[in-house]
Each structure stands twice: as C-alpha cells, then as structure tokens.
C-alpha cells in the first residue's frame, strides 16, 4: 500500500501524468456507454426470443454470445486505451 501511495504522490506533481490519468478515466467511461446500451439490447432481444420460442433457445444463445462478443470489443478497446494512458 505504501508503494501505491508513493506512486500517487509522485505522479500528482507531474501535470502531464495528471492529464494522462484524467484522460484515461474519461476514455474508459465514455467507451463503456455505447457497448453497455448495445449489450443490453442484444441480451434483451435474445431473452424475448427465447421466451417466445423456447425450442430455439440453443441457437439463440449461440448467436447472442456472438453478438455480445462483437459489441463488447469496443468497450475493451477503451479499456486497453485506459491501461496505455494510465500506467
């Protein structure tokens, strides 16, 4: 914990590091909005489909995971930017 505290104090004096940390926070926060809404849509529609046609549940689940995987990639790129900027 001391290591973390000393790192924080050391970085707080450097304006560039402060800007990078702020930017990293915003980058991840903004990158999470779109995929959050998108995954909500995907899963919601998949549940609707499964409730209407339970016999198609297996196929719907596979397609749902594919959709989630594609949507989620955007948020994860935001997370990578967060790591690159923040550390």
């Amino acid at each position: 914990m001391e290591a973390l505290a000393s790192l924080v104090i050391q970085q707080a004096e450097d304006p560039k590091a402060v800007a990078a940390a702020t930017g990293a926070g915003f980058a991840y926060g903004l990158a999470a909005i779109g995929p959050g809404i998108g995954i909500g849509y995907v899963v919601g529609k998949a549940i609707e489909a499964m409730a209407r046609q339970p016999e198609a549940a297996g196929m719907v689940r596979t397609t749902m995971f594919l959709g989630i995987a594609f949507t989620e990639a955007l948020a994860l790129i935001g997370f990578v930017v967060f790591i690159l900027l923040g550390l």
Partner: protein, 253 residues
C-alpha cells in the same frame, strides 16, 4: 512469484523474469499445455467399449461440448473435421484463464498480450488458408469486389470486408481475450488491496475497520464471476474461430 503477497505496483503489469525471458506467465502457459495433454492422453488409454469413468468422462464431455455447441451450431456437419483443432484451442485457453482464480497462482496467462496475439495469428493464418484452399483466388477477389452487392456500393463494401477480414478480426480476437482477462485480474487486485488496506488502517474511526468486510465480499463475488468469465472467453474465442473458418469456406453466406 507466489500469490501470497502483493507484488510491487509495477509488477501487476510487468512481471520480473525468473531467468532470462522466462517468467511466471510462461510457466503457467507451459503447465496449461502439459495438463491439457496429460488429461487427454490418460483419457485415450481407457477402454472405449466400457462406460466412461473419471478422466475419460471429462474428456468426452469436452469433445461433445465442442461438437454440439460450437461446430454444429456454426459450420454444420461438414465442419466436424475441425473438432480436434477447436478442442485444443478451447482447452488451452480455458486452462490458461483458470489460474486467475486459483489461490497462490492468481494470474491468468492470457492476461498478457503475447499469448492471445499468438493464438489470434494462428487462427488468422488458418482461416485465410482455408479460404484460399476452398475458393482459390476467388476468395480474395470475392472479398474486395463482392458480386452480390450493387455495383456502386462494391468499392465501399469491398474495402470494409477487406479491412475486417485481414486486419480487424485477428486484432479484435486478441484484444477481446486479453482485455477481458486483464480487467478481471485488475478488479481482483483492486478489491484485495482495498480490503487489506481497510483491515490494517491505523485510524480512530470505529467503523472503518469492520467496513473492510464489504470489499472482501465484493472480492468473493468477483472471484465467482471470474469463473464464468474464464469459461465464457474461451468459448467465445473458439466459437469465433469456428465462425471465421465457416465463413472462409463459404464466403457467400
């Protein structure tokens, strides 16, 4: 080295070498490969005529899962020949993800870019090779100049298809696995550090120390969540590989 103590903060991202260019991540990856090989070698020794028991049960469940849930759902009957490759991929990624929640190890091997990127490059080589083998040069021309699209739209759609096939697919495949595992690892580290700091805080506030239970419960919940994420990411990586191979065989779909 062992996950019993918190490493210095920089080592969460960069691990020290144990000896030249070989660190804990590499050991975990090697162990994952060896355990996967051992399970299936042991399972293959048993008599296939008897009802499966023990390790053979596990192996058969794995094979059946890949066949029913991944190959049949994406490529259909003609893709069954890809089961061994997809099974290897799935078992290896899953066994690499799992150490993230095993005490003492506490480090998923896929939370470093090297492993996901290498796997994604293998997948990229394979699905492009399959495309060229099944469709010849039409694989490339059909990609840049698609015939079932109106003529005016062809350059645009072709450009998008080409970028997505050649650049974005391997990149997103690697980044998805890597970032998911790293994010889970960082969450666990954060809540472990938080509850540790609150339990040991030197303060006169009476409530602060007992409040350390809250991040600890969050840590337990996240550990269970990571079990799910480790499995799901291995599944998604494998199913996307199957989808890409299936698309390379029949690009018109």
């Amino acid at each position: 080295m062992l996950g019993l103590d918190f490493p210095p903060i920089n080592e969460v991202i960069r691990w020290r070498d144990l000896f030249t260019s070989f660190n804990k991540i590499a050991i975990i990856a090697c162990l994952a490969a060896l355990i996967g090989i051992a399970i299936f070698l042991l399972a293959s020794r048993k008599d296939p005529m008897k009802a499966p028991t023990g390790v053979r049960n596990l192996a058969e469940t794995g094979v059946e899962f890949i066949e029913d849930q991944i190959v049949m759902q994406t490529m259909g009957r003609e893709g069954l020949g890809w089961t061994p490759f997809l099974l290897t991929l799935f078992i290896f990624i899953y066994l690499c993800n799992l150490p993230g929640i095993i005490p003492i190890l506490q480090m998923p091997a896929t939370a470093r870019m090297a492993l996901p990127l290498f796997l994604a490059v293998i997948v990229w080589l394979i699905y492009n090779a399959v495309g060229f083998r099944h469709n010849g040069a039409k694989y490339l021309t059909g990609m840049v100049w698609p015939h079932n699209v109106p003529v005016g739209m062809r350059p645009l759609v072709g450009l998008i298809e080409f970028m997505s096939n050649i650049l974005l697919r391997p990149f997103s495949l690697a980044v998805r696995l890597f970032a998911n595992m790293l994010a889970g690892h960082m969450l666990l580290v954060t809540f472990a550090l938080l509850s540790d700091a609150m339990f040991r805080a030197e303060t006169k506030e009476l409530l602060l120390k007992p409040m350390g239970v809250l991040p600890f419960f969050m840590l337990l919940f996240l550990t269970v969540f990571e079990v799910l994420v480790g499995f799901l990411q291995a599944y998604i990586f494998t199913i996307l590989t199957a989808v890409y191979i299936g698309l390379a065989r029949h690009p018109e779909h």
